[in-house]
């Protein structure tokens, strides 16, 4: 499980936690997060996201 960070706002996506509130189950790998997902803090689309591994 890896941790990723939004390059726009600093939001951290932890694969172990997922983003349950937005339908992303705990344990979802970043690669498996759908393209329709957007950053919950800044609204940037996944395709713009350029998450960096923390």
């Amino acid at each position: 499980m890896k941790t990723w960070q939004c390059v726009v706002c600093g939001y951290v996506y932890d694969e172990a936690q997922g983003d349950v509130e937005h339908g992303i189950a705990a344990g979802t790998r970043w690669a498996d997060v759908p393209d329709s997902w957007s950053c919950p803090d800044c609204g940037v689309a996944k395709s713009d996201f350029e998450m960096v591994e923390v």
């Binding site: 939004c6 726009v8 600093g10 803090d41 609204g43 350029e50």
Partner: protein, 382 residues
């Protein structure tokens, strides 16, 4: 197709997001980005929580100017000195030479407000509003122990939390009686203050810093309440003032920021303003979400589809891990009152007026309700 280039002054989040969104709609029009600094892209919100995440300053730079230029099919000019705008000729003066624009975007940002301070250490007080500032701050704090922060607002609290997490001793001074003064009702602020104090932050509220003196390698701060604090470095975080001087000199309409309409158009034909320098319908909103919304609208407008900006409710996440917080303050002067539900591990405060929720401040475990509550909020600018 535009024959003259789109010129963007500013390479912060606003400038680069407009460029990126524009390229999704228009890959042809020449694009010139003028940067006052190195022109690289980085996340400004990350500056105030980089230490706790053990990030080096260099690792915060996501892409340098050359990479950004390649990605955006743009000319990115680093260390460009833009001295004037000529709205009549549609030209900007850069390093002494004129560049013509078809459309001009002012993404100039804001300057940190500096408090008037006495003493021979006053000029050594640091502000952090960009990556180079942050590099100076980290160098000043490297290997040291005591940091004083002027200002208990959002940036002051975030830096305080980050510094104590990294082992520093931190004093925060603010004239307000509580942290995050303008964003929280008193009961919520008291909870945040307790959490940050438990993490090691020392608050000095309801007073101001009057003097900063050099004292050997350190600084001595004299507060209005008589306290004397010692610090290795002093960080000022008391707010931002939109950069308007160049627009004003060009005859553009200025109020608190550069005045723009819903299309982000200034009072001059073909000149737009966005981000921390811009004032839209009286609002200056120096946060990430408004910039993202505005950048998408402006990109469409620049690409030939005039698109007014709309702001939904835009809660602001405060990056204080000792007390997670998300706030969506009501409109200034909105009639209503705060209703506060305080639990052991969180505080939920709703600002209610006319039977509806107009704003909220969620702390600790209450942040889990952010999405449900955000859906109930009115749009900031519908």
């Amino acid at each position: 197709m535009n024959r003259q280039p789109v010129v963007i002054i500013g390479s912060g989040l606003a400038g680069y997001t407009v460029a990126r969104e524009l390229r999704k709609l228009d890959s042809e029009t020449a694009l010139v980005i003028l940067s006052a600094d190195h022109g690289g892209f980085y996340s400004k919100p990350m500056l105030s929580n980089a230490l706790g995440q053990k990030k080096s300053v260099d690792s915060l730079l996501i892409k340098d100017a050359a990479q950004m230029a390649a990605d955006l099919k743009a000319e990115v000019r680093a260390y460009a000195n833009v001295s004037a705008i000529d709205p009549e000729r549609k030209q900007v003066t850069v390093d002494g030479a004129a560049i013509s624009y078809g459309k001009l975007v002012l993404a100039l940002g804001a300057d940190p407000i500096r408090l008037p301070l006495e003493g021979d250490g006053a000029e050594a007080v640091l502000s952090v509003n960009n990556l180079d500032d942050y590099r100076r701050f980290r160098a000043a704090a490297e290997g040291k122990k005591d940091i004083a922060i002027l200002g208990a607002g959002l940036i002051g609290c975030e830096f305080a939390n980050d510094l104590v997490a990294a082992g520093y001793r931190v004093d925060v001074i603010d004239l307000a009686p509580q942290p995050l003064g303008r964003l929280l009702p008193p009961a919520s602020a008291a909870f945040l203050q307790r959490r940050l104090e438990a993490a090691g932050v020392r608050f000095h509220l309801g007073t101001t810093t009057q003097r900063v003196e050099r004292s050997e390698e350190r600084f001595s701060l004299s507060l209005a309440n008589g306290e004397i604090l010692a610090a290795d470095a002093v960080l000022s975080a008391v707010g931002l003032r939109p950069r308007t001087a160049m627009a004003q000199a060009a005859g553009l309409k200025i109020n608190r920021g550069i005045v723009v309409d819903r299309l982000l158009l200034t009072s001059a034909d073909g000149i737009y303003a966005i981000g921390d320098c811009a004032e839209i319908e009286g609002k200056v909103l120096p946060f990430v979400l408004p910039i993202m919304q505005a950048a998408r609208a402006l990109a469409a407008t620049l690409a030939g589809q005039p698109t007014p900006v709309r702001y939904p409710a835009m809660p602001v996440v405060v990056k204080t891990p000792a007390c997670p917080a998300v706030v969506s303050p009501p409109e200034p002067g909105a009639p209503g009152e705060w209703l506060v539900e305080e639990g052991e591990n969180g505080v939920k405060a709703l600002f209610q007026g006319g039977g509806t929720v107009l704003g909220f401040a969620l702390l600790g475990t209450a942040v889990a309700e952010k999405n449900a509550l955000s859906a109930q909020l009115p749009a900031v600018m519908g």
